[in-house]
């Protein structure tokens, strides 16, 4: 099974990267770009076949390592 995890900054938390990307795009001739936020996208191969179990385990991985829950949110999708 595969898990796809999105880690994004919480609302209101400054996103220096997103800001810089937005500026750059504006300068490069994309004035239509407004707010930009950058997050992480992590794909994990899992040796686990039970959906519910896998979900709980990945949840745990997010809390322990993948996301910094002080400033980040995460969301999990399971595929295959």
């Amino acid at each position: 099974m595969k898990a796809r995890v999105h880690v994004t900054l919480k609302n209101g938390v400054l996103d220096p990267q997103g800001k810089a990307i937005g500026h750059s795009l504006n300068r490069l001739g994309f004035p239509e770009v407004g707010d930009v936020r950058q997050g992480k996208f992590i794909e994990l191969e899992l040796a686990e076949t039970d959906q519910a179990k896998a979900k709980a385990r990945v949840e745990d991985m997010c809390k322990k390592l993948l996301a910094n829950t002080v400033i980040e949110n995460y969301s999990i999708e399971l595929v295959g």
């Binding site: 220096p16 990267q17 810089a20 990307i21 750059s24 490069l28 950058q38």
Partner: protein, 229 residues
Amino acid sequence: MKSAILVFPGSNREGDVAQALELVTGRRPSLVWHGDGDFEKVDLIVVPGGFSYGDYLRCGAMAAQSPVMAEVKKRAAQGVPVLGICNGFQIVTEAGLLPGTLMRNSHLKFVCADVHLKVETSQSLFTNRYQAGQVIKVPVAHAEGNYFADPDTMKKLEDRGQIAFRYCAPDGTVDGRGNPNGSSSNIAGVFNETKTVLGLMPHPENAVEPMFGGTDGRGLFEGMVEALS
């Protein structure tokens, strides 16, 4: 020799390389602001180290798109020598002046330390003061210096002698021990096909004075002066 050092928002080793060039040439290089599409004619363009645009998105990606880099590409095509150091190496590869790319260090950490480099060739305007096989000691300071290129590109680089420097042990052995960042084939610096563009991760500009890091990097600047004056 007249040289220009580009300055992007977030560049921070432009002073170091200016200091080194001035020491060797006796002449203060001019600093060129990134927004300037045009600048005076020079014999050498230096893209210095730093964190242009915070190194956000990908190191060097945003700087590579600036007006001044469009001009640099034009001049490089005409044969004007370009030296990219550290973030400058990342910028010139992102701009397509050199093949490959610089990825996150394999240990994921920033590393500032003296490393040993094996000079691969003396046949270039940058390395003529060194001997092929010579080992020099200069520092690195980066988090993304892990050189990567696909196998075809790697083969071409080797076949055409485009590798300028490799990380090595103090005795010149090229193996994992001397490699500070996981670079493919221990690559520390590469040339373009005509050897008029050099990109390297280490900082020869921080090894030009005996009391401040040694003098092993001086040869690079002296070599350029000899070739370009």
